[in-house]
């Protein structure tokens, strides 16, 4: 039994608070009229959440049957609350414009803000859940809130996107629940009935005695189920539509955060399997799915005509790379995977911030109609160029570093796989550069209205990504190394 210290107690209060604050804010925002106030409140709530999440680094709660904060999830909680905070700031300026042009009504905005906080609640709950049933419930809730937000514009396209997302998401979530039940069945003979047999930290200690065949079967269901939410091919079909048709802040949160949360769930179960010597190695399955997603998405990048849809495919590509890295396992690949997860979140949400502003000033999302941005809107245009250069993996930015680490660590162990991955990366790189040229350079086309929005969220993210590429602070490196070791082979 661990002794309770004041820090433990503080940690416990914080863990509860990062769940209660968004839930309460959602309730308040659902009732508040007036979008200016609710947009500000949304930002404030997101900031409070981020500040509290930072405290979790220092103050840890004692793991209980329902909630758990350990080294793996604390960095993700901080990342999630940070991006949620910057996105809420971006969203405040974005929705003002949407209201002006009449794409959203004040009633829908109220709903939008409430759902935004509900999504924060669901993602925080999924990250801190120790009970695998609770984690499933949280991810299901996150799916439902995003389904509603994707359909919020109520056009043909938005409704079809929401419907597709709902159907595929529910199928995924159903498969994941079946996998969760199988994990419980595997744990029950060892742990006995009740809450312990669903508490992840307890299961990890006893996983060596679980029935390996049941665990294998469970992992297949979990990988397919949560993999649908990660957007891994061939279960990705919902992702481009949902990104393209929903409000842009939601695309940023989907790509930057929700995909990570689903992948985090897969990682938890991978660790359970790794703790059981007789179970199948989960790595090769993840490597295969990751590689297929990367190469497939890289090819798909070429024929995109909608700018948000193109970056959605780029998200599939990067989630594939991250899944590949964790599938390879080992200290270096895990480290690179964690770094890539962080860098991709920051870069992709920055790109979506830029794209949101661009589609507002140009009045279109069609790539063909957006030209010469660096001339018509220099700051925005160069921001997008920087973001795309970063996401394509050019040195010296952060994503280059993580991709380099993934590729070089793979070359040492499986040169064939590394070649395939490099092929996927290069194909994706080519597509992004090709499209970037048209969008950013040449004679400008489309609207020239000035941008009435803050660039701070976008450039804050890009600055972090650029800094990380050149210099990673020592404590951060040690932290990631430690977590990478936890994740194991």
């Amino acid at each position: 039994m661990i002794e309770l210290t004041p820090l433990n107690l503080l940690g416990e209060a914080i863990v509860v608070a990062i769940l209660v604050v968004p839930a309460l804010s959602a309730a308040v925002l659902a009732l508040l009229p007036g979008y200016r106030l609710s947009a500000r409140l949304n930002v404030a709530a997101a900031f409070v959440n981020f500040a509290m999440a930072m405290v979790l680094f220092a103050a840890r709660p004692t793991p209980g049957p329902y909630l758990l904060v350990d080294d793996l999830n604390v960095s993700l909680i901080v990342l999630t609350t940070f991006v949620a905070f910057t996105t809420s700031a971006f969203s405040a300026s974005y929705i003002a414009h949407e209201l002006e042009i009449g794409r959203l009504t004040p009633t829908y905005l109220r709903f939008y803000h409430a759902m935004y906080q509900m999504l924060m609640f669901a993602m925080n709950l999924a990250l801190v859940a120790n009970n695998i049933g609770l984690m499933w419930v949280a991810i299901e809730l996150a799916t439902l809130t995003t389904v509603l937000m994707v359909g919020i514009y109520r056009t043909h396209e938005a409704l079809e996107a929401a419907w597709k997302y709902f159907i595929l998401g529910s199928v995924g979530i159903a498969l994941a629940l079946f996998g969760t039940i199988l994990v419980y069945l595997a744990a029950r003979p060892i742990m006995g009935q009740g809450l312990d047999a669903m508490a992840w930290n307890r299961m990890l200690q006893a996983a060596h005695g679980f029935d390996p065949v049941l665990l294998n079967l469970a992992f297949v269901f979990l990988l397919l189920g949560y993999g649908t939410k990660v957007g891994l091919a061939p279960l990705h079909a919902w992702l481009p539509d949902a990104h393209a048709e929903g409000p842009t802040p939601i695309s940023a949160v989907l790509s930057g955060l929700l995909l990570n949360v689903a992948l985090y769930a897969v990682l938890r179960f991978k660790m359970l399997l790794a703790a059981n010597a007789d179970a199948l190695a989960p790595g090769p399955l993840m490597v295969a799915m990751g590689l297929v997603s990367t190469i497939f998405a890289a090819f798909m990048l070429y024929r995109r005509r909608d700018i948000k849809r193109m970056f959605a495919y780029s998200s599939i590509e990067h989630m594939g790379i991250i899944t590949f890295a964790f599938g390879m396992g080992g200290a270096l690949a895990n480290f690179a995977g964690l770094l890539h997860m962080t860098m991709h979140s920051l870069t992709k949400s920055a790109i979506f911030f830029a794209v949101g502003h661009i589609s507002q000033v140009k009045g279109t999302q069609k790539i063909a109609d957006i030209r010469g941005l660096t001339e018509s809107h220099p700051v925005l245009g160069w921001g997008l160029v920087l973001g795309v250069v970063a996401i394509a993996g050019m040195p010296p930015l952060g994503i280059f570093m993580s991709e380099f680490l993934i590729v070089s660590s793979t070359f040492a162990r499986a040169p064939g796989l590394a070649l395939l991955l490099v092929l996927g990366l290069l194909i994706g790189f080519g597509a992004l550069m090709l499209r970037l040229q048209g969008v950013a350079f040449g004679p400008p086309a489309g609207g020239r209205a000035p941008v009435e929005a803050s660039y701070v969220p976008m450039f804050a993210h890009l600055a972090l990504v650029a800094t990380a590429g050149i210099y990673l602070p020592d404590p951060l490196v040690r932290w990631f190394q430690h977590v990478a070791a936890l994740l194991g082979g």
Binding site: G133, V147, L159, W163, A174, L177, Y184, L185
Partner: protein
């Protein structure tokens, strides 16, 4: 009571659900489909109540009651009214013919038995066979969602799939949070599906045929 009888009854009920899943697959009329679904939920409710009795787990009675009241009565009635109001009660368009669908369904049942039985050789007989039945119901629900074009029948497919999950969860003896997971989410999903998706689709398209939505592929605008 002997263990044998307890097993036989729970297997009978779970097997009944698989059979009703097949009945859902070959319905070609909306009202028949909804009636078959109500029966599906009724059998689920009986099965959960039986599990509550033999496992001595009174909280499962809550799940059973809600399955009975909500899934077997409220939802079918509500869907029936929607279907009547939209005037789509006559026929259901299928993507694949009934014959091949049923054959494929048989294959799926065979698959789930082949997958589950060897895997769970060491657990108790109750769990393993219930689990095989439950997986069959889940897969048949998926099959139904794939082979139907109509939004209402896709929802029915999803709800039958959900029934399969509840069957699996209640069959896993002593699993915590079953009531919370099964009840809260089946209500929430049904609420959202009926209240919002259907409502919005009708408002915008005057049809609930998903085929009408397929005109959009996102790339040709």
């Amino acid at each position: 009571m002997t263990r044998g009888l307890a097993f036989d009854i729970s297997h009978l009920l779970a097997g009944g659900m698989v059979l009703l899943s097949f009945a859902l697959l070959y319905q070609d009329r909306m009202s028949g489909l909804l009636r078959a679904y109500a029966l599906h939920a009724l059998v689920l409710s009986t099965s959960v109540a039986w599990q509550a009795y033999i496992q001595d787990a009174p909280h499962l009675y809550v799940t059973a009651t809600i399955a009975l009241a909500f899934k077997a009565i409220v939802i079918p009635v509500a869907l029936h009214r929607i279907v009547m109001r939209l005037g789509i009660h006559r026929t259901i368009e299928t993507v694949v013919g009934v014959g091949p669908t049923i054959l494929f369904g048989l294959g799926l049942v065979g698959l789930s038995v082949a997958v589950i039985l060897p895997v769970t050789a060491e657990s108790d007989a109750l769990a393993r066979e219930d689990l095989a039945f439950a997986l069959s119901v889940v897969l048949l629900g998926l099959l139904m969602m794939i082979t139907r074009r109509n939004a209402v029948s896709q929802i029915v497919g999803f709800m039958s799939l959900e029934n399969g999950l509840v069957l699996a969860a209640t069959g896993a003896k002593g699993m915590p949070l079953v009531v919370e997971i099964s009840v809260a989410f089946s209500i929430l999903i049904a609420f959202i599906v009926i209240g919002i998706v259907l409502f919005r689709i009708r408002e915008r398209f005057d049809t609930v045929d998903i085929h009408a939505l397929d005109s959009f592929r996102g790339e040709r605008r």
